[in-house]
């Protein structure tokens, strides 16, 4: 039942990402700092619930992002988010992940996600800039934003996802 709340909360985050966050970002970083708060939650669900939940959440919210901001093509974010969540789950689903472990995984996964999105756009010749420029200009600042957010929501997110999905995990606590 907790998963329902998680989805609702993630939807709210998705809304906030594109409405309130643009007003909070300083001028110099506008267009470079990209919030992926929903993706951070997808990763938490991969770490603490399971890879299949993460895959479904990633596909769903990725597709939502794709459709709502349909500029060039569909499916980019759905693919990257789903894959990111699934791979993370595959690697670390059964292990216990303390704070530092979770944060570093989220950092790496965010890098992977941004790079994957960039790569897809590059293949379809929508992105023009070389990867090195994009990495410094946008991915790196965004990474810190994601890490900061992940740290802020670590405890509530962990509670939310550890209780949901796998009933066995909930009983152990």
């Amino acid at each position: 039942m907790n998963l329902r709340w998680a989805v609702l909360f993630m939807f709210l985050l998705f809304i906030v990402e594109s409405t309130i966050v643009p007003w909070l970002i300083p001028d110099a970083l506008y267009g470079r700092l990209v919030p992926h708060f929903v993706f951070v939650f997808v990763l938490y669900s991969a770490l603490y619930t399971g890879r299949h939940t993460a895959l479904m959440l990633g596909l769903f919210f990725g597709l939502l992002q794709d459709i709502v901001f349909y500029g060039n093509m569909l499916g980019v974010h759905a693919f990257s988010m789903g894959l990111g969540g699934y791979l993370t789950g595959l690697l670390l689903e059964r292990k216990r992940s303390p704070l530092l472990m979770a944060l570093s995984i989220i950092g790496f996964a965010s890098l992977l996600y941004d790079s994957l999105v960039y790569l897809i756009y590059k293949v379809f010749r929508i992105a023009q800039e070389p990867y090195a420029y994009f990495l410094i200009d946008s991915i790196m600042p965004s990474l810190f934003l994601q890490l900061g957010f992940a740290l802020a929501v670590y405890i509530p997110a962990r509670r939310l996802f550890e209780g949901s999905g796998k009933p066995s995990a909930g009983q152990e606590e």
Partner: protein, 280 residues
């Protein structure tokens, strides 16, 4: 593996130009944007409040400038009225068809921005006008300062606007805007089709060698080709150099419109008779 193939198929399919979207896309797009609009505007108001307090000092100067502009406008208006009457009389005498007369009559429809996407490769924002309001893909979107972007996808109640920073001649469906220079309308011509993210400049290509375009000139859309309306301000020329092949010139243009954190924009709708004959 199957997932990969499916996704590549979806991406390829959705890449091209589509005038109509399917109903699930319409439904999801519209309902989510409906929720988004409750958040974007209040946040904007609060941010704007702080901005206003900071800007208080500049207002006095701005007021003075506006007064000078207003007096100039009053003078120009008299001349404009005479010229317009003259022009209309000449058109009557030369037997212009109804379509030709309406070619340059545009309707400016105000739209509220309801959400903005921060993804640097696909920056876009949503406006609260859709196909039910007569919006079509590739319509120009302007703010009070100048050209902002082009409508990219149209949902029934909302539509997505791609800012001019996304112009890219290499992309699968490139958009190019024919442009000219204010006060040298007949003599200058170029095509704005590229944006350099590193310098923040629009690039205007294919300028002839003997073109009078110079630094500081104001670039406007020329309306040639009838895809984009004419007379929309794009930006000012920052520099001019020899283009890629040495035959033409390329100018770097600083966009005059603010492209981030917009709240209100105008969609330029050409008159019906004008577009039906001019569709490419």
């Amino acid at each position: 593996m199957i997932g990969l193939i499916v996704f590549i198929a979806v991406m390829g399919f959705s890449l091209g130009k589509r005038d109509k979207l399917s109903w699930p896309e319409n439904f999801i797009g519209d309902s989510v944007t409906f929720v988004q609009q409750w958040f974007y505007k209040p946040a904007g108001y609060i941010a704007g409040l702080f901005e206003d307090i900071r800007m208080m000092r500049d207002i006095y100067q701005e007021n003075e400038q506006l007064r000078i502009l207003a007096s100039r406008y009053a003078r120009d208006r008299i001349t404009y009225n005479f010229l317009q009457q003259e022009n209309e009389r000449l058109k009557e005498e030369l037997d212009f068809t109804e379509r030709q007369k309406k070619m340059y009559q545009y309707r400016y429809v105000i739209a509220q921005v309801v959400a903005a996407n921060l993804d640097p490769n696909n920056s876009a924002f949503k406006i609260n006008l859709g196909s039910t309001d007569g919006i079509k893909p590739d319509m120009a979107v302007v703010s009070t300062d100048g050209l902002v972007g082009l409508v990219s996808r149209v949902f029934p109640l909302y539509s997505t606007v791609t800012p001019i920073t996304e112009l890219n001649p290499d992309s699968p469906n490139p958009r190019a805007i024919s442009a000219t220079v204010m006060d040298k309308e007949g003599k200058s011509f170029g095509i704005v089709e590229d944006y350099d993210k590193r310098t923040g400049m629009l690039l205007m290509n294919r300028i002839a060698e003997n073109d009078p375009l110079a630094e500081g000139d104001v670039v406007i859309t020329s309306g040639l080709g009838n895809v984009f309306p004419r007379g929309l301000e794009i930006g000012t020329v920052e520099s001019r150099q020899v283009g890629d092949y040495g035959l033409t010139y390329t100018a770097a243009i600083k966009p005059s419109a603010k492209l981030d954190r917009l709240t209100e924009v105008f969609v330029v709708i050409p008159s019906e008779t004008g577009t039906s004959g001019a569709a490419p």
